[in-house]
C-alpha cells in the first residue's frame, strides 16, 4: 500500500466515524425508507388482562454457576424488551459434587441493542446483568450455624452467591405466528462475588482467571 492509498483509507475511515458520531437527520428530512423495518425490530407487546403474569419466554442454560443445566422462565419488559427477569432452577448432579444439589437462580438481564441482519436473524451485541443464586444442602449456610463462637466467625454466606455477567445473543425469528416466536442462542462470561473479592486483592489474579463461560437457549413465546 503506497502513501496515497493510505491517505485515502484514512480519509474514508474518518468519514465513516463522523457519519456515526454526528447527530442523525430526523425522520422528516430523511428519505422515506423502502420498508418500515428498523435495525432494532424488537417490540414489546406484552399480555393483556389475566394473561399478564404469564412468562414471555423459557430458557435453558449450561453451567454459569447455576448448576450443570438450569431451566426456567422469565418476563421481558421495557419498550424494546431491553429488560428481562428470569427464574431458573439448576441441577448439580452427584457426579460433580458431594451430593445432588438444586440451585435456584434469580436473574436480571439488560439487552440494550438488537441489530437485524438478513431476513430473520438479529444479533444482540451486548447482554449484561446480575444473578443471585441459592444452593440446597446442609453444607451451606446463609446465617452461620450456632456452633460458631461469634456471630461473624466467617464473614460470608456460602449458600447465596451473586454473579455478574456479560455476553452476546443470536436470535432467529420464526415465520409462523404460533406459540413459538423466536429462538435465541446466547453465551455469557460470568464472575462470582467471592472471586471478585480475591481478584481485587491480588495483582496476580486477572479477569481471565475468574471468568467462567456458559451457553444457553431462549424460546420466546406468544409475545
Amino acid at each position: 500500500m503506497n502513501a496515497s492509498h493510505f491517505r485515502q483509507a484514512i480519509a474514508f475511515m474518518l468519514c465513516l466515524c463522523m457519519q456515526t458520531a454526528l447527530p442523525q437527520p430526523s425522520a422528516d428530512n430523511w428519505p422515506a425508507p423502502e420498508t418500515k423495518q428498523t435495525l432494532d425490530r424488537r417490540v414489546h407487546q406484552g399480555y393483556e388482562s389475566w394473561e399478564r403474569p404469564l412468562p414471555t419466554h423459557v430458557k435453558a442454560q449450561y453451567a454459569g454457576g447455576m448448576g450443570f443445566l438450569s431451566f426456567g422462565a422469565g418476563w421481558d419488559y421495557g419498550r424494546k424488551c431491553r429488560w428481562e427477569t428470569d427464574i431458573l432452577i439448576g441441577f448439580l448432579p452427584k457426579a460433580y459434587s458431594n451430593r445432588t444439589h438444586t440451585i435456584y437462580t434469580l436473574k436480571q438481564n439488560y439487552i440494550p441493542w438488537s441489530i437485524s441482519c438478513c431476513d430473520r436473524f438479529a444479533i444482540e451485541p451486548l447482554t449484561c446483568g446480575v444473578y443471585l443464586n441459592l444452593i440446597s444442602g446442609e453444607d451451606y449456610w446463609v446465617r452461620e450455624p450456632d456452633r460458631y463462637p461469634d456471630a461473624k466467625y466467617y464473614w460470608f454466606t456460602s449458600r447465596l452467591r451473586t454473579f455478574f455477567y456479560i455476553g452476546q445473543r443470536f436470535t432467529y425469528y420464526l415465520k409462523s405466528e404460533t406459540l413459538l416466536r423466536n429462538i435465541t442462542l446466547f453465551y455469557e462470561f460470568s464472575v462470582n462475588d467471592l472471586d471478585m473479592v480475591s481478584a481485587f486483592g491480588n495483582r496476580s489474579l486477572g479477569i481471565s482467571d475468574i471468568a467462567c463461560f456458559s451457553v444457553g437457549i431462549k424460546f420466546q413465546l406468544f409475545r
Binding site: 448448576g67 460458631y148 486483592g201 496476580s204
Partner: protein, 264 residues
C-alpha cells in the same frame, strides 16, 4: 477462509473455564499431591541425619504473597521440603484450592498441606481430599516422623473424630523403625476455639507417647508465637499467615532442632 475465525472462536471457548457451581467438585489438574510428595520427601531424605524444612500457613486469598513465598523458598539453600499448616482456601471453593496448588507446585522442593478450618467450608473438605489427600497422615523425613493431623473439631460438629485418636493409636503402634524423633503438625492448636478442648490434655498425653517428641507446628492464629501450652516442655510453634511475608525454617539434626523466622 472461514476455518481460521472458527478455530479461534473454538480455541477461545475451550480456553475458558466452565463452572457448574463455585462449590462443585470437578477438580481440574493434579490430584493426590500429599501422597506423591511424601514419596518424594521420603526418597530424598532417606538416611539423612540432618533435615531442613520450611513452614508456611494460612495462604487463603493471599495469592500474591504466596507467589512471593514460593520464590523466597526456591532461593532457600538446603531445603528438603515445605509444610503448609492449613487454610489454603478462604471460602472452600474449588477454584481457590486449584489456584493455591498451582502456585505451590512451582516450589522446587516437595510440599505437604494440612487441612485448615476454612478448607472445610461447604464442599471444601471433599475438594481437599481430592487434590491433596487424607486430612490425617504421617511421613518420615530422615529420622523424623511427621504426624499431620486434622484438629478443626468445630467444623465437624462431632460428626467425625477430630482429632482422630484412632489414627494416632495406629501411628503409635506402627512407628517405623528408621524414625527416632517426632514432630506433630496441625492447623488449630489446643485451646483454640477450633480444637475439641474437652480432649486437649488427652491429646497432649497421646502425642507425648511418640518417641522423642521435638515440638508441634500449627497455623490458624495468623501470628508467630511459641507457646508451652501444657507447661510440659512441648513447644507449639505457630506460623504467621502468609500476608506477614514470613516463613519458619527448621533444621533438625542429631543434637536437636533449631528454628528461624525468615521475612521475605
Amino acid at each position: 477462509m472461514m476455518k481460521r475465525p472458527l478455530f479461534l472462536l473454538f480455541a477461545a471457548v475451550t480456553a475458558c473455564k466452565v463452572e457448574y457451581h463455585p462449590y462443585d467438585t470437578r477438580v481440574h489438574g493434579e490430584r493426590n499431591i500429599n501422597e506423591k510428595n511424601i514419596a518424594r520427601i521420603e526418597a530424598a531424605t532417606e538416611g539423612k541425619q540432618t533435615i531442613r524444612f520450611a513452614v508456611i500457613s494460612d495462604t487463603q486469598q493471599w495469592y500474591d504473597e504466596t507467589e512471593k513465598a514460593v520464590e523466597a523458598l526456591n532461593d532457600c539453600d538446603g531445603l528438603d521440603f515445605v509444610i503448609h499448616t492449613g487454610d489454603l482456601a478462604d471460602f472452600g471453593m474449588r477454584s481457590e484450592f486449584e489456584r493455591q496448588r498451582d502456585i505451590l507446585n512451582k516450589l522446587h522442593v516437595p510440599y505437604v498441606t494440612i487441612l485448615g478450618n476454612h478448607d472445610c467450608l461447604a464442599t471444601g473438605e471433599t475438594i481437599f481430599r481430592m487434590i491433596f489427600g487424607s486430612p490425617d497422615y504421617a511421613f518420615t523425613a530422615g529420622e523424623v516422623r511427621f504426624i499431620c493431623l486434622n484438629t478443626n473439631a468445630l467444623e465437624f460438629d462431632h460428626s467425625e473424630s477430630v482429632p482422630n485418636f484412632h489414627f494416632i493409636e495406629q501411628e503409635l503402634a506402627n512407628f517405623p523403625p528408621n524414625a527416632k524423633k517426632t514432630i506433630v503438625a496441625m492447623h488449630a492448636k489446643p485451646f483454640s476455639e477450633q480444637f475439641d478442648n474437652n480432649v486437649a490434655k488427652v491429646f497432649q498425653y497421646a502425642i507425648r507417647q511418640f518417641p522423642d517428641l521435638q515440638c508441634c507446628l500449627n497455623g490458624h492464629g495468623h501470628k508467630f508465637t511459641i507457646d508451652d501450652l501444657f507447661e510440659d516442655g512441648v513447644l507449639y510453634y505457630q506460623c504467621d499467615n502468609i500476608e506477614k511475608r514470613t516463613y519458619l525454617l527448621f533444621t533438625v539434626d542429631e543434637k536437636g532442632y533449631a528454628y528461624e523466622c525468615i521475612a521475605f
